[in-house]
């Protein structure tokens, strides 16, 4: 069988339904490709062909019995932050190097209910803390477009696997841009939905009030199909939104005539690499040709996003990561004097430098006497930024700008300067602070041929419209159809 490894989810679904290919054949294809290319790319941390093939076989059996499911037999790879019963789940950390999950996260369960077959667990920055995938205990993921460059982070493995055709689609999580920035770096479409759309149950928490699951795919249409499977209320997550299921593909075909695109002047300043701005401007011209109008807006408080984020996220992380104490699961130091020594040694050995840095920052900002000055202030900023967006939506339907100020960089370029690394998320963080949906789609290359992403930020629960916008752009362009030569 010859299978186009860059077939979209929609195409794969159609081929399965037409019985042109079986789920087992598909699983074998991607597993073979991973066996061949993963050693170089390091996108997967764990593959378990036996489990994958048995899942694939079971979906084939279902189909032959006449059972239907929206994505029956379509393979999917999951970021190694999602627990799947019986699968090793490492979160990119030595702390969980040998941790086998005892239960399955809701998102993975919902995707399995939709018929999807798990291909494997994808590499990531340790505990999702990083923007380049260099903090993973399992080594960095290589960008399939240029293996001397980073794939972005923290969902670097999720982006690289799809870009390299090691999976037709993948899941990621996005706390400050961890889906959108790697989507840009690897020329993919990635979506972070509204906070509360996808259950966080069974996803290892980084910053609980910011974390959100979302899909990586080649197209906006695929993202819509995947979100249909991932989203849904979950009584086991108290922050999950209790609302009816919706079909995110329903508006894909709508023309863009009359669409008002807000362009925040704060996103188009000097911090951007010129090639990035150029590609974004060209994409905006396409949107205008499709009937959209653009309007300059201002988000005066968005400049506080990074400082607010680097208070809230580490604060929540410092508390969320306390459970990794070596007592019940995860890494435990071989030798220790007493319980406190066991904690100290286990955590010192189990966590990497970036994770420790953030635990320290978080512990500091929550300390007695500092809480008001940092955490409470950051909370106020979140509300101010949300107010800015609320005002913006009076004059526009969606907000656009570059996903990141510069494209993929070389390994080591920022590894020693955390602040430089943090600024890479300058445009993505605001949507996490406010909880709005945001996505990135390919929109060209800079002068060095490096990929640029367009970020679309939408109002709460406006995913269907955003996917419609990106889909119409993708009907008119072919940046998203470009694949690395590998």
């Amino acid at each position: 069988m010859s299978w186009n490894t860059f077939a979209t989810v929609a195409e794969t679904k159609a081929a399965l339904e037409a019985k042109q290919v079986s789920a087992v054949e598909l699983a074998k294809h991607y597993l073979d490709r991973a066996a061949q290319l993963n050693p170089g790319l390091n996108a997967y941390i764990t593959l378990n062909p036996e489990k994958t093939l048995s899942e694939a076989l079971s979906t084939d059996n279902k189909r032959s019995k006449g059972e239907v499911a929206p994505l029956l037999g379509v393979p999917i790879a999951h970021k190694d932050i999602y627990l799947i019963d019986g699968w090793r789940t490492t979160c990119g950390s030595k702390m969980l190097e040998n941790f086998v999950a005892p239960y399955t996260s809701t998102v993975v369960k919902y995707m399995a209910d939709a018929g999807m077959v798990t291909l494997g667990k994808l590499n990531m920055d340790e505990f999702a803390m990083g923007s380049s995938n260099e903090t993973s205990f399992f080594g960095p993921v290589k960008n399939p477009w240029d293996t001397s460059r980073v794939p972005g982070g923290s969902s670097g493995g999720s982006a690289a696997a799809v870009a390299a055709g090691l999976a037709p689609a993948s899941t990621g999580t996005d706390t400050g841009g961890s889906i959108r920035q790697p989507a840009m770096f690897c020329n993919l479409t990635g979506l972070k939905p509204t906070y509360g759309i996808c259950s966080r149950y069974g996803i290892i928490a980084f910053a609980s009030s910011l974390d959100q699951a979302g899909p990586f795919a080649q197209t906006a249409e695929d993202c819509a199909l995947l979100l249909n499977a991932m989203a849904g209320f979950d009584p086991r997550d108290a922050t999950s939104l209790d609302r009816a299921k919706e079909d995110y593909t329903r508006d894909l075909a709508k023309p863009l005539k009359g669409l008002r695109i807000g362009l925040p002047k704060e996103f188009f300043g000097e911090g951007n690499e010129p090639g990035v701005l150029k590609a974004v401007e060209a994409a905006l011209d396409v949107y205008r040709k499709l009937g959209a109008t653009t309007v300059e807006i201002t988000l005066p408080n968005v400049k506080y996003s990074v400082p607010a984020y680097y208070v809230v996220a580490p604060a929540e992380a410092s508390s969320n990561l306390s459970r990794f104490d070596g007592a019940r699961f995860g890494h435990r130091a071989k030798e220790y004097d007493d319980i406190v020594d066991m904690y100290k040694r286990s955590r010192a050995e189990g966590f990497g430098a970036e994770v420790k840095r953030r635990i320290l920052i978080g512990t500091y900002v929550l300390s007695h006497g500092y809480y008001d000055a940092y955490y409470l202030q950051a909370g106020k900023l979140r509300r101010l930024i949300a107010e800015d967006f609320k005002k913006a939506y009076e004059v526009c339907d969606v907000v656009m700008g570059p996903t990141a100020p510069e494209p993929s960089f070389q390994f080591g370029a920022k590894a020693d300067d955390p602040v430089k690394m943090y600024l890479n998320d300058i445009y993505t963080i605001c949507a996490n602070l406010t909880g709005q949906p945001a996505m990135s789609h390919p929109c060209g290359v800079d002068e060095n041929g490096l990929h640029v992403g367009m970020q679309i930020i939408g109002n709460y629960l406006d995913e269907a419209r955003m996917l419609n916008v990106a889909h119409q752009y993708q009907l008119a362009t072919d940046w998203h159809k470009k694949h690395p030569n590998i």
Partner: protein, 477 residues
């Protein structure tokens, strides 16, 4: 001692009676095999999330309404961060800045009958920790997480108590109230009701002294002993010219002493912040109204009703209404038609004394309220005397017979009220009592009592005492 004023405030952890835990579906039942009642959430597995058990919130609101407190319709859960083996998440979910219940108070009655209003600061919801097990493994400790996540209501008073007696009276009143409301089983041995006592001393009129907190007292007796010791110790320290250092102390029931476990210098910074996993706890109008409508009759109201409905004196009514089990026992007995005042006397007297002696609660009483009513009914209709009734009660207590009538019949305890029969006994006694008769006739009233006593003895206590008296008088005067 007189020149020192004692200042006491209490923090009580009340375990709520929900079947499942406050943030997970695991059972809260006591005594299961270690770690068999710990879910993914209680074990703090990666990715696990808490979901609020509304039953715990309902019980907290019930308490708030009972003490006339302000119910915060929107309260916030916060994380209290610290590392300990019995705290699997590395933080305890509690409420900090915005608890569900604020203010209110309850009236306590002291032994001398005086009352005092004890103001509450707040009551907040939180989860219990697990339990460390130190004595089962060689050089290692175990952790049992069955208790982790059990719902607690922590009830905090203002520092308004001025003696150990007041503190104990408050703790007992609170214990009665939470059982009344059926929000806590009150089982102190199993840790369902635990008190932390903050104690300081000062000269009257001076600002508060430095306090020390006695942790985890689970008996009223220990509370009294611990406070007494702690107060003596603090006064001695100050009088020796030493300063009290703020500290957490433990009471050792064997030695009767308190001992510091940590001082303020090594106090932890708990880094409280709102739990991002839990939205604000909202008590909407529908829920609030439903809880309000389900409120049981409270002790004060019950006390008033016992006085008006059963014509009981206030003292009796207060004692009987103090806890719901006693009130229920009383009301069931009266419902059978037994005389209310007599039933009250028996509950407050013989029954309480026997229960105390045998260290039983009224729910464990071998004599049911219906059985006690049957005893009282036979007193009322003259079948037995009060004295014989005690014999019947004791027989019922030890399981000899199902009703008073069974015992009376089996033991032949029926009172003799037949004039002829009593006259016969009196005649026999008088025939042997010439000396006493002479004494009586010479004006010694006591001699009559002696004759009555002999007649009663001869009748094995069954003769009707009033009739005996009358017949003797008639025969010898």
């Amino acid at each position: 001692m007189a020149q020192w004023e004692i200042v006491i405030g209490l923090e009580t952890h009340v375990q709520l009676t929900t079947a499942s835990k406050i943030f997970s579906g695991a059972s809260t039942a006591f005594g299961a095999e270690p770690n068999t009642q710990a879910s993914i959430v209680d074990l703090a597995m990666p990715g696990a999330l808490p979901v609020m058990n509304k039953g715990a919130a309902e019980r907290a609101v019930k308490f708030g309404l009972a003490v006339g407190a302000n119910i915060n319709r929107r309260s916030i859960f916060a994380r209290k961060n610290y590392f300990y083996p019995d705290l699997p998440k590395g933080y305890q979910i509690s409420q900090f800045e915005t608890p569900i219940v604020q203010g209110g108070g309850l009236t306590i009655t002291l032994d001398d009958g005086t009352t005092k209003f004890i103001e509450l600061t707040r009551a907040h919801l939180e989860e219990d920790a697990g339990k460390s097990v130190h004595d089962q493994f060689d050089r290692e400790s175990g952790v049992d997480l069955n208790r982790a996540g059990t719902p607690l209501l922590e009830i905090v008073t203002e520092p308004v108590m001025r003696s150990a007696k007041e503190a104990v009276a408050y703790a007992k009143a609170l214990h009665g109230l939470v059982r009344y409301l059926d929000i806590c089983d009150g089982n102190m041995q199993e840790g369902s009701f635990r008190c932390d006592v903050n104690v300081s001393v000062r000269k009257p009129g001076e600002p508060f002294g430095t306090r020390r907190e006695i942790k985890n007292l689970n008996s009223f007796k220990f509370m009294q002993q611990a406070i007494d010791y702690e107060v003596r110790w603090q006064i001695e320290q100050i009088e020796d010219g030493k300063k009290i250092v703020q500290a957490t102390v433990l009471f050792n029931p064997d030695s009767g002493e308190t001992r510091a476990m940590r001082t303020k210098e090594d106090a932890m910074d708990y880094r409280y912040f709102p739990d991002p996993d839990l939205p604000p706890l909202v008590i909407d109008d529908a829920m609030f109204d439903r809880i309000k409508a389900s409120m049981p009759e409270l002790p004060e109201a019950k006390c008033a009703r016992f006085q008006s409905e059963f014509k009981l004196p206030e003292y009796d009514a207060r004692l009987l209404s103090q806890d719901s089990a006693t009130a229920k026992y009383f009301e069931v007995a009266v419902k059978t038609g037994a005389d209310a005042k007599l039933v009250a006397n028996w509950i407050i007297g013989e029954l309480s004394a026997t229960l105390n002696r045998e260290e039983k609660s009224i729910e464990q009483s071998p004599v049911s309220s219906v059985q006690l009513a049957s005893v009282v009914a036979r007193i009322s209709d003259g079948t037995i005397s009060n004295k014989i009734a005690k014999t019947v009660f004791e027989a019922l207590w030890s399981g000899e017979g199902k009703t008073a009538d069974d015992v009376i019949a089996a033991k032949g305890l029926k009172q003799i009220s037949d004039v002829g029969a009593i006259e016969k006994i009196v005649d026999e006694v008088l025939a042997k009592s010439a000396a006493q008769i002479a004494d009586y006739k010479s004006g010694k009233e006591k001699a009559l009592m002696s004759i009555v006593g002999m007649v009663m003895k001869a009748s094995q206590g069954k003769a009707n005492p009033a009739q005996v008296n009358e017949i003797i008088k008639r025969k010898i005067s």
